[in-house]
């Protein structure tokens, strides 16, 4: 493991990181995902060395760096909004880290020129950061960090402050850099799509704790608890009561309707989660032996561009997402009678909030 956090705790301005333990493998693209105020940035800044942890250790290549100042940690940090030095040109910005490390001028020139070429920034070398677009600024900030060949690159919300088009360009650039240079990256974001499209593993954070760590597939298929489920898009979350378990299926009573879920339920009282995209809508009576089918009435439709979010009252509210074309074809509107179907496997039993590291 190139980066290892052991039981890290840090209180800071009324907020606290609590017992955070993580491992990041050499060459891995790792994402820290969580809502605003989850403690992602505080964790990142503690790893870099801006805050000294109250407890725990930070190991870099098995070496304890907990008490080392930031400049001695061999970490590369790209903060939110890039923080390029406005009084230096692009070339000088990229050169900065090498200069601070006392690299000879000739070597600096070669290395910076090579990095600018690698990042496709040669034509911007003499420009001021103030004249660059958001995407270009991000690329310069990345080049400035990569040039010092850090053991781990730490990115704090790198795509947040740029427009969609630039975001796509930077995302592709991040993928390319990770693939070509095999750098280890820790990427902080509140955007699950961003995390899942880039990272090999994702740690979900909430209230200063790591709630779950896993691959995209494992997180989406088995959210550790209600928080993770809700955060990862399980918009239909209902309290229920276990009626019976039979042939690998759990029968859960939700507001008088019985829903079948694949897998076992540990407690009688439980919470079930269903993603809206796993719910199908039918305007004619529908039956299936492999899926739950509920009858209801359309309560609301929200146009989200290419898709429409349809809220159906079945005795409890269930949200389904429908492609715009299907929505128009089904001619759905408030009050339309519909039948919902969703597979047993798409019903997740969610635990109560319980930190879990894996």
């Amino acid at each position: 493991m190139v980066l290892k956090l052991e039981h890290l705790s840090k209180a800071w301005h009324g907020f606290a990181l609590r017992d955070v333990s993580l491992d990041v493998a050499d060459g891995e693209y790792f994402a820290l995902l969580g809502p605003n105020g989850a403690g992602k940035t505080l964790l990142l800044e503690t790893i870099i060395g801006f805050h000294k942890p109250d407890k725990g250790r930070i190991l870099l290549d098995s070496k304890d760096v907990t008490s080392l100042p930031p400049e001695k940690r061999s970490l590369g940090y790209v903060p939110q909004n890039c923080m390029l030095f406005p009084h230096m040109r692009v070339w000088q910005n990229v050169e900065f880290g090498l200069r601070m490390r006392g690299v000879a001028e000739g070597d600096r020139r070669k290395t910076v020129d090579r990095m600018l070429m690698l990042m496709g920034l040669t034509s911007l070398a003499e420009k001021s950061p103030m004249t660059l677009s958001g995407g270009e600024r991000q690329k310069v900030a990345l080049a400035r960090v990569l040039v010092i060949e850090p053991k781990v690159v730490l990115l704090d919300e790198p795509l947040t402050s740029i427009d969609d088009e630039s975001s796509r360009v930077v995302k592709d650039e991040l993928k390319r850099i990770h693939r070509d240079l095999n750098v280890t990256v820790v990427h902080v974001t509140h955007n699950q799509m961003e995390a899942f499209s880039l990272a090999q593993r994702v740690a979900v954070m909430n209230c200063g704790q790591v709630v779950q760590v896993g691959t995209t597939k494992s997180l989406l298929s088995c959210p550790a608890d209600e928080f993770v489920g809700r955060f990862l898009g399980y918009e239909n979350i209902c309290k229920g009561r276990l009626v019976k378990s039979e042939e690998g299926l759990s029968f859960v009573d939700v507001s008088g309707l019985v829903i079948r879920a694949a897998g076992d339920v540990e407690d009688d009282e439980c919470t079930v989660g269903i993603r809206p995209e796993d719910v199908s809508l039918h305007t004619k009576p529908f039956t299936s032996s492999e899926a739950n089918v509920l009858r209801g009435v359309v309560a609301d439709c929200v146009d989200l561009g290419p898709i429409v979010s349809v809220s159906v009252d079945t005795g409890f509210k269930v949200k389904a997402t429908v492609a715009k074309g299907s929505f128009l074809e089904l001619n759905l509107e408030r009050g339309t009678e519909v039948w919902l179907s969703f597979k047993f496997e798409s019903v997740r039993i969610l635990n109560k909030h319980q930190p879990q590291v894996g």
């Binding site: 100042p69 930031p70 400049e71 903060p79 001021s128 010092i148």
Partner: protein, 264 residues
């Protein structure tokens, strides 16, 4: 007047009040210049006058340098770090502006005067403050230091701490961050502080006259002329000082309006 009708009443009232303020500054200055024109040539020819003006400018420059060396680190610490008693120390910075300047001169006299312990100790090394350039510089520095410290403090505070932290993560020590990031970014504010400090020091009379009446500085000479030389001589020296101040201000504005590095 059509454009006036398009403006909001608030803008119109503000403009009128601002005009009164501008006239309040401009009229006395140009009045003094107008009345001084006749005697300007004589004033320029007088070595007493030119020596006094040189002494004022020279001592003010030394005072500015002194405050720069000690005041900039002080301003940096005040703007970037928290420490016990910071608010009290921060308030002390403004004290030299608040106390009457002749009282400031007296305060310096009881510390640096030959008859007092510290002054006597320094005198034994040949450093005397009463009626010497050292005294003038000390008096000027005392009353004008808040201008430098406050300007620098504001300029340092405007530098985003995230930028300084980024520099640290790239391998810069605290000192290197100051040299390569914080100071260059705060430079314009610091230069403005230098000008304000220097200008305030040039104009200082109260503290200087108590601690070091001689060698003569321009404000002290003006005071002496008011009792011996008559108004016309006094106005001529005043006009000369105003002209020099305008020239220096224009040069400074041109110099600081251009970025230190090629335009980005």
């Amino acid at each position: 007047m059509a454009w006036l009708k398009q403006k909001s009443p608030f803008i119109v009232v503000s403009s009128v009040l601002g005009l009164v303020m501008a006239l309040f500054i401009i009229v006395p200055i140009f009045g003094a210049l107008t009345y001084s024109t006749g005697g300007l040539q004589n004033a320029l020819a007088s070595s007493v006058v030119t020596n006094a003006i040189f002494m004022s400018f020279y001592c003010a420059l030394l005072a500015t340098l002194f405050i720069f060396v000690f005041g900039i680190p002080f301003a940096y610490v005040l703007s970037k770090y928290e420490f016990p008693g910071k608010k009290a120390v921060d308030s002390l910075v403004d004290l030299p502006i608040l106390i009457p300047h002749n009282a400031a001169g007296l305060a310096l006299l009881v510390v640096l005067g030959r008859a007092y312990p510290i002054g006597s100790f320094l005198n034994s090394f040949g450093i005397t403050f009463q009626d010497t350039i050292f005294g003038i510089v000390a008096a000027m520095a005392f009353v004008s230091c808040p201008f430098m410290i406050r300007s620098a403090q504001e300029a340092f505070s405007a530098v985003n701490p995230a930028m300084e932290r980024t520099a640290r993560s790239l391998g810069a020590t605290n000192f290197k961050v100051f040299v390569h990031v914080t100071f260059p970014l705060a430079l314009r504010g610091i230069l403005t502080g230098c000008l304000l400090t220097w200008a305030r020091a040039v104009a200082e009379f109260g503290a200087v006259v108590v601690l070091a009446e001689f060698p003569l500085t321009a404000p002290v000479l003006l005071y002496n002329l008011s009792s011996t030389g008559g108004l016309s001589v006094e106005l001529a020296v005043t006009g000369l000082l105003i002209l020099l101040a305008i020239v220096i201000l224009v040069i400074f504005r041109i110099a600081t309006s251009k970025p230190a590095r090629p335009a980005y």
